[in-house]
Symmetry: C2
Subunit: 335 residues, 2 copies
């Protein structure tokens, strides 16, 4: 069926070892032989069997990336950055989407483990510390993306989410808003918790400003829309005058819902700020203020760290890299 290195060797009149050398270290083989083998390869249409290669090598040539939501442009940007860095070392990125679901997250970790991936990048959900420790004990370096773990036993690349939350709410307070709602969830996602913490910190510094929290089941446009509808249903006096959404998807959902009814206007009645600064944020009905994260850089750096950890071996000093978020002001929080 499929042609193997053995057949290539036969038609080229050399041994299998030589074929392998042509494939992997052509400089160790005489030019004339290289040519003969190449000819046999293209004549037979030989294609390397990656499984056999990996079996022998003991490791695959890819790294696994588990994200919370592929539909979120923030994560596709991270993935792109990761791919770029991986490509520099001839590695491939396997993208797994946990969809904020612990079962799927676990399934992808199993898969990556069976595949003997070079390393794992994960934006974790819930408590997977033990699972990841085991993985690492088996020799698979692991880097946390967009989240730090308290005990510093893992390398990580993150953005200071507390600072981000603080930036957002300070800004809302600065433009004179006093009844602020934080929209986000679930609380098993660390980013949500941290951004909320930052929000609380900012509120504490501004007397007279109160913070309400509205929980959601996920960080999607749909969930945002339902929160928006919920806000509309309230009597006007009980509505917040500003909303800080845990990510842009939620914020855009809220915006869509609020825009349905003419009597609530953004930003006049409710100022709105999101998080991530995805490309679509600036194109929203009302261009969305947001907290920008260097998404592609996060992915790039994470893989970089992973490679360093892979080389460093056992006694590698785990490194926590943290970027600072940036406030982007647009129309949705004007005035």
């Amino acid at each position: 069926m499929s042609v193997s290195v053995r057949e290539v060797a036969a038609t080229a009149g050399v041994s299998v070892g030589t074929v392998s050398n042509v494939l992997n270290r052509p400089d160790k083989v005489s030019p004339s032989t290289v040519e003969r083998v190449q000819a046999a390869i293209s004549q037979l249409g030989f294609v390397r069997n990656d499984a056999a290669r990996q079996l022998r090598a003991g490791r695959s040539r890819s790294i696994g990336l588990v994200v919370l939501d592929v539909a979120n442009p923030f994560f596709t940007d991270v993935a792109r950055g990761a791919e770029d860095r991986a490509a520099e070392d001839g590695l491939t990125v396997l993208l797994g989407n946990s969809d904020e679901n612990p079962g799927r997250q676990s399934a992808y970790l199993d898969l990556f483990e069976e595949q003997r991936v070079h390393g794992v990048l994960i934006s974790p959900l819930g408590d997977v510390g033990d699972r990841l420790s085991r993985l690492r004990a088996r020799g698979t370096p692991t880097v946390l993306v967009d989240r730090e773990i308290a005990d510093r036993s893992f390398s990580s690349v993150a953005v200071d989410d507390v600072a981000g939350g603080y930036l957002a709410v300070s800004h809302l307070a600065a433009i004179g808003r006093t009844r602020i709602a934080f929209v986000g969830g679930p609380h098993s996602i660390r980013q949500v918790v941290d951004r909320l913490e930052g929000a609380r910190k900012a509120v504490a510094e501004h007397p007279g400003v109160v913070l309400e929290t509205i929980d959601t089941d996920s960080l999607s446009v749909l969930q945002g829309r339902s929160v928006g509808e919920q806000l509309l249903a309230r009597p006007a006096g009980e509505r917040p005058d500003a909303v800080f959404a845990a990510n842009d998807l939620l914020a855009m959902g809220v915006l869509q819902a609020l825009n349905m009814l003419g009597d609530v206007r953004v930003p006049r009645d409710i100022a709105l700020i999101g998080y991530d600064d995805i490309a679509f944020a600036s194109a929203a009905v009302v261009p969305l203020s947001s907290i920008r994260q260097p998404s592609a850089l996060i992915g790039y750096t994470a893989v970089d760290l992973l490679m360093r950890e892979a080389e460093g071996g056992e006694d590698f000093e785990h490194e926590q890299i943290q970027f600072q978020p940036e406030l982007i002001i647009r129309e949705s929080t004007a005035g």
Copy 2:
């Protein structure tokens, strides 16, 4: 380093064959043995080596999907549909992003071929017919996504893009626009060509309506923005009064650019319609009219077709499935 079935067999006091049976056909093994082996497995922390498995099996348990742009929500939706269907058969989807770049497309096909994937789904770029024929000759079923190939030698799942283009431009004509610009490119992407053809067809049926085409290098927000700026730079009299963009990303870019300047309003001065109806389209500055495609269903159906073709073997009758697009009218083409 890593524990193998051999060690599991040793500690459980059975042969490797039995361990394999416990893993794959537990019903063929006596309950007491199953239990003993399971115990050994978890005690040693054994994890199957997928490479060895694949080597033996001759095929991997995943299917490859090559899309034109992962940043385009349309394709992530397709991917999600494909994943869902693949999961039903215990398969994984490997997502490759060609980024509208023939080199990358080719690299992913190579990769998938080396991995001996179960099948390939591809939204092709340029002329890859030969390449795909070779792939299929090697026993890898292939299904084209979002594009039909003229000679019907491949199975495909697509949406009638000519009809979509026709719908869009007929709608623009119906609301009284007469100077229509088609924005899209490159022409190596079939969807672009077909949508333009549909547009031409519609124009032909409406005397007095003229069509101008503006080429782009890719179907991204950035390209759209530069087209928008280009339009703004023209004297008012030479601007089109409607724009049909080959996808929503482009359309949103155009919209962003037009919105910068107060004197051109959408839809008053320029009506705008996109294609794909991505989730963000309805949340745009001016909610975007678009042509909706059943994206997740496309992915789902494509994998389904792939599985059928894989079973059917050599003499499988290639099937071309075509869905019909749907016109979604929003504010960007009101009045």
